[in-house]
């Protein structure tokens, strides 16, 4: 009978320890989980914001990838294009210092000054240079009427190209 009483006492001691541990753990979990759940909500918001940013970054990078894939990576010589599409015109081209951009690429810049050209000639020339791969893009254009029917003006053209490493 004594051993039965002893084992009962041992059982109650174990039960007390386990209940105490259980209650302590429960209280701890309640306190800790509140912080953890708050953190999860914040991280969820962060994931949402980063997903939008990543979408935008992917869009920006896809422009580079498109050029990487599709082009010879060097724009056609602007003097050659001028000679081809503005055959007898009075055009002066000035190559400007290239601008740095992302690693492995640079922006080629050229300034064209012309006189006595019609808008049709100017627009045809611009359409042709913008069709190149990689294309020349008009960054600035200023026009003034010339002495006779034609226009005088200045064009600033940009084109991206792979830099020589």
């Amino acid at each position: 009978m004594k051993s039965v009483v002893k084992s009962e006492r041992v059982c109650w001691i174990i039960a007390s320890i386990l209940m105490l541990a259980g209650t302590t753990m429960l209280l701890r979990t309640v306190l800790v989980s509140r912080t953890l759940i708050d953190g999860l909500y914040k991280k969820h918001d962060r994931i949402h914001h980063l997903a939008l940013m990543r979408y935008e970054a992917d869009g920006l990078r896809s422009a580079v990838l498109t050029l990487e894939r599709d082009t010879s990576a060097r724009p056609t010589d602007i003097r050659e294009l001028t000679r081809t599409y503005l055959e007898n015109a009075d055009v002066t081209s000035t190559l400007l210092e290239p601008e740095a951009t992302i690693y492995g690429w640079q922006v080629q810049r050229v300034e064209l000054t012309f006189e006595q050209l019609t808008w049709e000639e100017v627009s045809l020339f611009l359409r042709k240079v913008e069709e190149q791969r990689p294309p020349w893009r008009v960054k600035q254009m200023s026009l003034t009427p010339g002495n006779s029917e034609g226009l005088s003006g200045k064009l600033l053209l940009h084109a991206v190209q792979k830099s020589e490493i």
Binding site: C11, L26, K43, R46, A51, T101
Partner: protein
């Protein structure tokens, strides 16, 4: 494990009644297996004792008996304050004053205290002297059995009568007379409460022979007079039970004997001879009941101790499991949250790496740092994005064609990625609306101002800003 069988041993002088009660669901089935003098039929008695001993040893049944009324003391005690815990402290002192021997020589107990309308706490005290109880148990030792429960006869009979014949009104006086073979027990109470118990050492055997019936009636009347009013108009419920109550002639005789002072009804409970056995079994086996037991402390039945110990062990194990479950659930929930946190962080790190191109070293600052990185990417990739922007030739061509058609002379025209600036002369200021709408159609916000001009033409200045850059496809 709850036992579903109970043997009840009722001693009435030399007579012994052994009955077996079995619980099946909420129902109790009673069966008398021996009812005679112990030495009258030795073979049957030995067989009965063997059966009981075997059942007790296997632990499948209880053995219960009731302490005869003349051995015990029943007292109604009242403590003059409303606190139950305080009342329980003073009840032993009150009982000590009320009984004719020291309380230290007694085994005693108090039934569940009740609050009275006057704000007191009342209880029924049961007491028996140690030597009386030991002598009672020695009788069982001689029969080679040991009871697990020793209840009080008066209490058992009263509660069983209440069960079999519920009280009609709360304040009614109830008189229960148990006519045994060798003794009589009389109980008086109001409503459900037992007020007093008395025993007369004359029973059915003696009364049936015609001797002593007058003396018996006198003793009964004397007891009743001290407890209740003899007024015949007062509502009293008489209940007759016990082996004597099943003998119609005897019952008539005793009722007539009492009728001189009282006018008792002849209300007899069904199967009146087995009420004590039924009462004992009901108080032990019925799930809602709480049996009273004189056997406590050193006298407690080892089987009871083991059963209680098992119950306690089970409760301890139950609490251990609950505690363990709490630990596991708490740890599990925390682990789940941390795992979820790690997964979220992994997604953040991956997205950060995709945007910035470098691992995340400043946790919590990802959105800020990625935003800065995105601004850099936007700046660096601008030339590449502009490749896909609409050509400036389109708005320039649209404006110049409209100007030519409206005979507008352009003095100066300039356009870049976001602005258009034009100076010129128009034949009529009303044409400004046409020029404005042409530029607005190209997505610009236009501001056109009128200058001085000359007699035939109006000078103007147009400034336009790109309203919204076309987003990337």
């Amino acid at each position: 494990m709850k036992k579903k069988k109970c043997y009840a041993v009722v001693r009435d002088g030399e007579y012994v009644t052994v009955s077996l009660s079995t619980r099946s669901g909420k129902k109790l089935r009673h069966e008398i297996i021996y009812d005679d003098r112990a030495d009258a039929n030795l073979d049957a008695w030995k067989e009965c004792v063997c059966i009981v001993q075997a059942e007790l040893q296997s632990g499948s049944a209880w053995l219960a008996s009731a302490l005869p009324v003349h051995l015990g003391i029943v007292r109604k005690l009242s403590a003059p304050f409303p606190s139950e815990s305080k009342a329980l402290k003073v009840f032993p002192s009150l009982l000590d004053i009320d009984i004719p021997f020291p309380l230290e020589q007694c085994d005693y107990a108090f039934l569940q205290p009740q609050h009275t309308p006057s704000g007191h706490v009342e209880t029924t005290a049961l007491a028996v002297r140690h030597e009386e109880l030991d002598a009672f148990l020695d009788e069982f030792e001689k029969l080679n059995v040991r009871p697990s429960y020793v209840d009080h006869e008066g209490l058992v009979l009263w509660t069983q009568c209440l069960l079999e014949q519920p009280v009609s009104a709360a304040g009614d006086t109830r008189i229960v007379v148990w006519l045994g073979r060798t003794r009589t027990i009389i109980m008086v109470g109001e409503g459900r409460g037992l007020e007093a118990v008395h025993s007369i050492r004359s029973g059915a055997d003696e009364l049936a022979s015609g001797h002593g019936i007058t003396g018996w009636a006198r003793r009964l009347q004397r007891f009743l007079k001290t407890r209740i009013s003899a007024d015949k108009n007062t509502e009293k419920c008489w209940i007759w039970a016990g082996p004597g109550a099943s003998q119609a002639d005897l019952l008539d005789a005793v009722v007539d004997a009492v009728a001189a002072e009282f006018s008792p009804e002849k209300h007899v409970l069904p199967e009146p001879e087995g009420i004590l056995s039924r009462g004992l079994a009901s108080r032990i086996l019925a799930p809602a009941r709480d049996p009273f037991n004189f056997l406590s402390g050193d006298r407690e039945d080892p089987g009871m101790k083991i059963a209680r110990n098992r119950r306690n062990m089970f409760t301890a194990v139950y609490f251990s499991v609950c505690g363990l479950l709490l630990v596991v659930l708490s740890m599990g929930f925390e682990f789940f949250l941390k795992k979820q946190d790690r997964e979220y962080q992994a997604v953040i790190d991956r997205q950060y790496l995709d945007i910035v191109g470098a691992p995340n070293l400043q946790r919590g600052q990802e959105v800020l740092l990625a935003g800065r990185a995105l601004e850099t990417i936007q700046l660096q990739n601008k030339p590449f994005i502009e490749v896909f922007d609409p050509s400036l030739c389109k708005p320039a061509g649209a404006f110049l064609r409209a100007a030519y058609q409206q005979d507008v002379h352009i003095k100066k025209f300039s356009i870049d990625g976001e602005h258009i600036e034009v100076e010129g002369l128009m034949p009529d200021w009303e044409l400004s609306g046409v020029l404005q709408s042409v530029v607005e159609a190209e997505g610009y916000e236009v501001e056109i101002t009128k200058g001085e001009g000359n007699q035939s033409r109006t000078s103007f200045m147009l400034k336009a800003t790109l309203a919204q850059k076309v987003p990337l496809p």
